[in-house]
Subunit: 395 residues, 2 copies
């Protein structure tokens, strides 16, 4: 038994964590673009990385270093430091070497980047930015803002978890992500801090397990970036660990941030849950649910608020999973429009389904009627703004 | 040795074929929406159908009938007759039964439909339309127009093929397709007529072989419809068959129509060839090339005429094929922007690459530098118009 309390403070909510975000001149107009997370004691660290074969330099650097403990994470936006070969890794070495000489109590610093692919980091600007850091600051909002690219708002969450014994621990997180979001191993940048005493060897398992139904179940445009990272930092300060409670809290943190990312999908106005049940097994349910959240025709129908159930059916049929028109049922919110071969789509039903689609969040439920496999993904609509943002992104 | 001459006449170019398109009131404003293809002698017929599990009623009807010969194909647009269960098939039976009673010389008539999914056919309108058909008409333009949905122009092609012996045969075709185009078994509606004496048991093999590098290599939005059909009708009238010449002509017909479909992609302004070479094998080359033509981020960068090579690289990396930044080379037209780890993307190169992207058709070439697998796909940009067309399609 345990209770979760939503609290303020984002990544600085857990005991011993500090953060800030500043403008280092990578973005125009003095926008924040460089952040740090600092812990006053050493943390165990583990991370999930993108499935893209061209992993960016910061990911290669992390893996190469065999880093298991750290107390300093440096994050820049506007430049992904991807496709930059050995030079990209050397740039990180030089930047982090400088950080260590500037702040004596930094151990095994790591770096994370997001932004345009194929451009070397502006090293001097970043080094100058580091010089202005104050490690004693607790400014989670500024940090969350500094890691944004096409995000329209910062994404943070924090909980205090109280056990029945009266003991408690805290968990906080920030994330960025609005485009290039695909159900793959990891899907954006997300940094999670906690003062729970999670055993180091359980961190990766917990991250992977929670990612399956959260970050791996969301889609904005079906593309998988070179930089996706979900990082968990545990400084153990609370001395408390209850696996069940921590798993629940981590799942909740990742679920809430995943939904925030979908809701902030580039140009998106709706967050839609695609619930597939009755599939041959849960793998097939996931395939069908991901096909729905990725389909351009479904996404544009969401944008048009058009209960075009034919496109839903066609996408299920094209996904390759076992299915049959005679056992399929399609429901928008609580309005069933197609039931096991019967088209229930008269003018009245259509109007009711269209009403459901006007909401900013709702569910589309497809029961395949084959067996009991189920999976839910979260997606968004695709409108003019997505095209505008992505046609112009680099410039 | 043989020569191909481009000729007029579309599907009516081969000897003995007739066609027309009329308005039966399925589309508004007296637009053409019902077409027929008629041959004055019986044809062998074979077809490729969609890989979608929810195949539309006309496809089920064709397969159920075990039809191998026909001399009459009825095609309607605006309504796909898909997800309409047994009733959809019974509707076809009734419509074709009427056609047979109206025209005594019709044998084994077949039907094909395209349009909105999940609505019963307006049977009475179609039957009334059939009554007004004149089987002696040779109006290929009207037929090609009547099968259009969101297409902005009709798509036809015809060739006369002259053998060295002086003998000749003709092949003609019409197609429709502008959205929901995905590299799958078949990808739109396409009807090919010929008076060549193709052996019945070779037709399917030839169709499949030619589809691989034509209709299976194009993408507009990555969705696979319920109705995709490529149908070949051979009435043998020329008495001539030379496999090499016929294969070449069929390939040419399907390639030209495939490019016409991409160029007419919903809201598209550019047709781009994604040429992948140097892959581990041709299967991996196809996976990478299809990933490029399907990527939303690549498609929006094309629309923005932005030589954002990082997105090209990232898409290759995310496709799962064997690749390495140290052996990859990326070229826009004849401008190489990234070569085996070196970023050649200075201001001058960027300007030249941007110049290439202003053209209405060009190629993007990725040499993976692994082995000698190659494959080329054809795709288009994605702009505001795609969203507009698909948000509003049903209404």
């Amino acid at each position: 038994m345990f209770t979760l309390l939503s609290i303020d403070g984002g990544i600085c909510a857990p005991d011993g964590f500090y953060a800030d975000g500043i403008s280092a001149g990578l973005k125009p107009d003095d926008q924040k673009d460089l952040a740090f997370i600092y812990s006053d004691t050493l943390c165990n660290v583990d991370a999930l990385f993108t499935a893209n074969r061209f992993q960016a330099a910061p990911i290669q650097h992390f893996k190469k270093g065999g880093i298991y403990t750290t107390n300093f994470v440096l994050i820049n936006s506007k430049n992904a430091n991807a496709m930059t070969a050995e030079a990209g890794i050397e740039d990180i070495d030089e930047i982090l070497k400088h950080a260590k000489s500037r702040f004596k109590n930094i151990n095994n610093p790591v770096m994370s980047s997001t932004g345009v692919i194929g451009v070397r980091l502006p090293k001097e600007k970043i080094i100058k930015g580091i010089d202005s850091f104050d490690l004693g600051k607790k400014s989670p909002d500024a940090a969350a803002k500094a890691i944004m690219t096409t995000d329209s708002y910062e994404k943070q969450v924090a909980f205090e978890v109280k056990l029945q014994s009266g003991e408690s621990f805290k968990i906080g997180a920030m994330a960025k992500g609005a485009g290039m979001i695909n159900p793959a191993l990891a899907t954006m940048l997300c940094f999670i801090t906690t003062d729970a005493a999670v055993p180091a060897d359980e961190m990766g398992v917990l991250l992977r397990e929670c990612a399956e139904t959260t970050f791996n179940a969301i889609s904005v445009d079906g593309d998988t970036s070179t930089n996706d990272t979900v990082m968990l930092l545990c400084n153990q300060k609370s001395g408390i660990y209850n696996r069940e409670a921590f798993f629940f809290a981590l799942q909740k943190v990742m679920h809430e941030l995943a939904l925030k990312i979908v809701a902030d999908g580039e140009g998106a106005s709706k967050c839609v849950a695609f619930k597939v049940t009755g599939a041959a097994n849960s793998e097939e349910a996931a395939v069908a649910a991901k096909a729905l959240s990725n389909s351009l025709l479904v996404k544009t129908a969401l944008y048009g608020e058009d209960p075009n159930w034919g496109r839903i059916a066609s996408t299920i049929g094209a996904s390759g999973v076992e299915c049959d028109p005679k056992t399929l049922t399609i429901t928008f919110g609580n309005i069933t429009v197609y039931k096991k071969g019967d088209i229930l789509f008269d003018t009245e039903t259509e109007a009711k389904a269209a009403e459901v689609m006007k909401k900013s969040s709702f569910s589309i439920h497809c029961d395949l009627g084959i067996s009991d496999g189920s999976f839910t993904t979260y997606g968004c609509d695709l409108g003019y703004e997505y095209v505008k943002i992505n046609a112009d992104y680099r410039t």
